[in-house]
Amino acid sequence: MSTRLFLGVGFLALLLTAASLPAHASAPLAQDAAAGAQVYADNCASCHQPGGLGLVGTFPPLAGNPSAADSTYVEEVVRNGLSGAIEVLDVTYDGTMASFSNLSDDEIASVVAYVATLADVDPTAVPTEQPEVVEPGDIGEGRDLFIGSDRLANGGGACVGCHTAGDVGNLGGWSLGPDITNSHDALGGEVGLAAWLSSPASATMRPIFNDRPMTDDEIADIVAFLGDAPTQSKPTDPGDGLIYAGVAGLIVLIGGMAIAWRGMRQTYVDVLRSKR
C-alpha cells in the first residue's frame, strides 16, 4: 500500500517537473544522452568506434572533434550522410558515410545528444595509429564464406547473394550490391573492414546482420579474402557468346522435340484414323 502510494506521488512529481520545464529547452537531457549511447553502440560504433575514438585515416574520430558539439551539423550528417574530404584533428578523411534516415526522430535526437558529450573529450586521448590485427584470417575459408558454401554461424546471408569480389563466379558474382573487390582499401585496411563487418552500417546490410552478426573468426576470414581480392584475376566476361550459345541450344532443343514429339503426341484416335 505504502509502495503504491509512494510510486503514485513520485509519478505525479515527475509529471509536474516535466511540465515546469521551459518548452523551448534545447539543452540535452541526461537521459537523452544515456539512450543515445545505446543507439550509438548499435549504429555508429562499428566505424566511429566505441567512445568515438575513430580509426586514424579511415573513420574520423568524434571524441575531441569540435564539430561533434554542433548538434545541427551532426543531425544533418546523421540524416543525410556525408561524403567528400574533411579534416579532423589534422588528419584528412575522404570516405562516404551512409544516411541513417531510418532512425526515428527520438533516436536521432538522443544520439546527437550523446555525440555532443564526446566533443568534450581531450583530443590527446584519441589514438593516432591503427591497432594491429592480432590474428589474420584464412583466405580460402573467407572465400567459402563469401560464396556461401560455408554458412555463417549466426544465419546471416552469404555475401555473394548481393556482392561480387575478386575471382568469384564464372559469370561474376551477383550484382544487387556493389562490387566489393576494393573494399579492403576503401575502408582503410583490415581494421576498418573488420570494424565495418562487425556491425555493418549501410541501410541495406543493417537489417540483415543486426540480429545475425558474423563471428570474429568469420570476419577475420572474410577480411583476409577481401584483402586478397584485388590481386585475383577477374572472371572473364563471356560477352555475346553466351547469348549466341543460348539461342543455338534453344533451336537444337525445340528442333529435336519437333521431330521426336511428332510420334509421341499422337493420340490413340489419331493413330487409328491414320491407319484407315
Binding site: T267, Y268, V269, L272, R273, R276
Partner: protein, 503 residues
C-alpha cells in the same frame, strides 16, 4: 480361409439396348461438376469398337493391369517401384484428354439472343473446358451403332484371333453386327489402381469391397489412371484429384440400387453379395492365362457351405449379409448356372462385375437368312445350339472379351440361353414340350425346373429379385463413431470440406 463380402453387379448383355440411361443417371448424380465433364463413371460402348477412352483394351499402349513374369510372380504392367519414381512427373502411359474426348455443349443462348436476320441462328458447339468454339470429333461412344466403324470397330483389339474371312464379312454393310457393353468400375479383388497409388489414397472397403479414392490423401499423381486396365479412374483437372465410380455406396447403404442399375430401362442389371476367399486372391490371379478364369471363379465361395458360413461369421460377416449372399442373383448367374463371366480376366485384377454374353445377334442372323447355315427354318433353334460357330457375332470375339480367349465358357452360356429360349417358346406356342426340346435342355445341362428358374430371373424378375442388398446397419456404425443428432445435422448434399488442389 478368410471370407470377405463383395457387392457385385451383373450385366445381362442380351437385354442391353444401349439407351445410355445408366450413363446419364450416373452423370447427373456424380459427374456434373467442373473438372468432371469428360468423365463417365458408367459408359456404354458399341462392340466391336474401341470403347471409351479410345482403345482402352490396348495394354501395349496404356500399360494397365498386371502381368505374370517368368517366375510366375505378379507385376504391375505400368512400372516397377523404381520405374514409378522415375515416371512420377511425366507418365507417357497416361491417357490424354483427346483419348477420352473434348467435352462439349452448345451455345444455346445464340438461339434467343441473335437479332432478326435472314437465316435462323444455330447453336454452335463449344468446349466445356475452354469455352471456345470447337469441331466435335469424338465422344464417349462416338462409334455408337457403327458411326465410324472403319476407324473404331475394325481396330477392336478383341477381334484378334477371329478368322480373317469372318472379319471381312463383319465389315460388309449388310452383315455388320454389334452388341453393347456397359462398363463401370469393376471393384476388383486385386485392384491395380490401389497398387500403383504412390500416396496410398485408394483402398478397398472392408464391408462390401467398394474401391474408393480418399480425396484427402490423393495428391494427383494419376498413377491409378494409368494402372487401371479398364481406365475407370479419372483425373479431375479442377480439384487436382482422381475420382472414380463409388458403386453409389450411399445409395446401397440405404438399401437402394446404384443409380445406373436402378434407372436401367432394359433391367439388365442385377446386384448381390458374393463371398470370396481373400487368402487365395494372389494365388488365383497369378495362374497361367488358361487357368485364370477358373481360378477367379474358384475363389468365389458357396454361401450355403457350412464351412464357409462358419468362416464368414468368424470374419465378422453377420447373418444379414449371409442371407443376402444366399439370395444373391449374381451368385446364381455366375456360380450356379455358369452363365456370367468377368470382363477381361487376363488383366489379373479379378474384376468383380460380371457379364452374361449376348445372344440376340445370333438369332437375328438366322431369322434374316444372312448366313447360309443350311438349317431347317422350323428347327433353327435346335440346330444352332451345335453350330454356334455360324453365329454372326463370333464366339471367339466374345471369348476374347469375357473368358481369356477360351470359347468353351461362352458356348456353355449361349447354349443355356438358347435352350431356355426355345423351351419357353415351345411352351407358350405349342403348350407342350416335345422330346427334342427335353433333349436340348439336357444337352445344355438343364432340367425343366432350372430352365424355369433361369427364365424367371432373366425375363420377369421384380426389382427385389434383381437387387438383393444386405442390411448395412449404418446406424450402428454412426452411433459408434459420433453423436447421432450431430450426424443428422451434417448429413445431406454437398461437401463438408472441398478437396484442395495438391493438399
Amino acid at each position: 480361409m478368410r471370407v470377405r463380402a463383395q457387392m457385385s453387379m451383373l450385366f445381362h448383355l442380351d437385354k442391353c439396348i444401349c439407351c445410355h440411361t445408366c450413363s446419364v443417371a450416373c452423370k447427373n448424380l456424380w459427374t456434373d461438376r467442373p473438372g468432371a465433364e469428360y468423365m463417365w463413371w458408367n459408359n456404354v460402348e458399341t462392340r466391336p469398337g474401341t470403347g471409351y477412352p479410345t482403345g482402352w483394351e490396348d495394354q501395349d499402349h496404356y500399360k494397365g493391369g498386371w502381368k505374370r513374369d517368368e517366375k510366375g510372380r505378379l507385376k504391375l504392367t505400368l512400372h516397377s517401384k523404381a520405374g514409378g519414381l522415375g515416371k512420377l512427373f511425366y507418365n507417357p502411359s497416361l491417357p490424354e484428354l483427346e483419348d477420352y474426348y473434348d467435352p462439349f455443349t452448345f451455345k444455346y443462348g445464340d438461339l434467343f439472343d441473335t437479332p432478326q436476320q435472314e437465316h435462323q441462328p444455330t447453336a454452335v458447339p463449344i468446349s466445356k473446358i475452354t469455352g471456345k468454339e470447337m469441331e466435335v470429333n469424338g465422344g464417349p461412344n462416338w462409334d455408337d451403332d457403327l458411326g465410324g466403324s472403319d476407324v473404331f470397330a475394325r481396330n477392336d483389339i478383341s477381334l484378334e484371333g477371329v478368322d480373317d474371312t469372318v472379319r471381312a464379312q463383319m465389315e460388309e454393310i449388310e452383315r455388320v453386327v454389334f452388341n453393347y457393353l456397359p462398363r463401370i468400375c469393376n471393384h476388383c479383388l486385386n485392384p491395380a489402381c490401389v497398387a500403383a497409388c504412390p500416396s496410398g489414397a485408394i483402398y478397398k472397403r472392408g464391408e462390401d469391397g467398394v474401391v474408393l479414392v480418399n480425396e484427402d490423401k490423393c495428391k494427383g499423381w494419376r498413377m491409378c489412371v494409368a494402372a487401371c486396365p479398364y481406365k475407370k479412374v479419372f483425373y479431375n483437372w479442377d480439384t487436382g484429384k482422381s475420382e472414380k465410380c463409388i458403386l453409389c455406396f450411399p445409395r446401397m447403404e440405404t438399401g437402394q440400387a446404384p443409380a445406373c442399375a436402378h434407372s436401367c430401362v432394359g433391367r439388365i442389371r442385377y446386384m448381390g453379395v458374393l463371398l470370396y476367399d481373400a487368402d487365395r486372391i494372389e494365388e488365383a490371379v497369378s495362374l497361367p492365362d488358361d487357368e485364370l478364369l477358373d481360378g477367379q471363379l474358384d475363389i468365389i465361395l458357396d454361401p450355403y457351405d457350412p464351412a464357409v458360413i462358419t468362416a464368414a461369421k468368424a470374419s465378422g460377416i453377420d447373418d444379414g449379409w449371409l442371407d443376402a449372399a444366399q439370395r444373391s442373383p449374381v451368385y446364381k448367374f455366375v456360380k450356379e448356372w455358369g452363365m456370367a463371366l468377368p470382363l477381361h480376366a487376363e488383366y489379373r485384377t479379378a474384376a468383380m462385375m460380371f457379364y452374361v454374353p449376348p445372344l440376340s445377334p445370333v438369332m437375328s442372323t438366322i431369322e434374316r437368312n444372312m448366313v447360309n447355315l443350311d438349317l431347317d427354318a422350323e428347327r433353327v433353334d435346335f440346330e444352332l445350339l451345335d453350330q454356334l460357330d455360324k453365329a454372326r457375332l463370333p464366339v471367339k470375339y466374345l471369348a476374347n472379351l469375357f473368358s481369356v480367349g477360351d470359347e468353351e465358357p461362352i458356348r456353355k452360356a449361349l447354349r443355356i440361353m438358347l435352350a431356355v429360349r426355345s423351351y419357353k417358346r415351345l411352351q407358350s406356342v405349342d403348350q407342350s414340350i416335345d422330346k427334342t426340346t427335353t433333349a436340348m435342355l439336357a444337352s445344355a445341362g438343364l432340367t425343366e425346373e432350372l430352365a424355369e428358374e433361369i427364365y424367371k430371373l432373366t425375363t420377369i424378375p421384380t426389382i427385389d429379385d434383381r437387387f438383393v442388398f444386405p442390411p448395412y446397419h449404418r446406424e450402428m456404425s454412426i452411433e459408434a463413431m459420433e453423436d447421432v443428432m450431430e450426424h443428422r445435422g451434417m448429413a445431406g448434399f454437398g461437401a463438408l470440406e472441398a478437396p484442395h488442389r495438391g493438399a
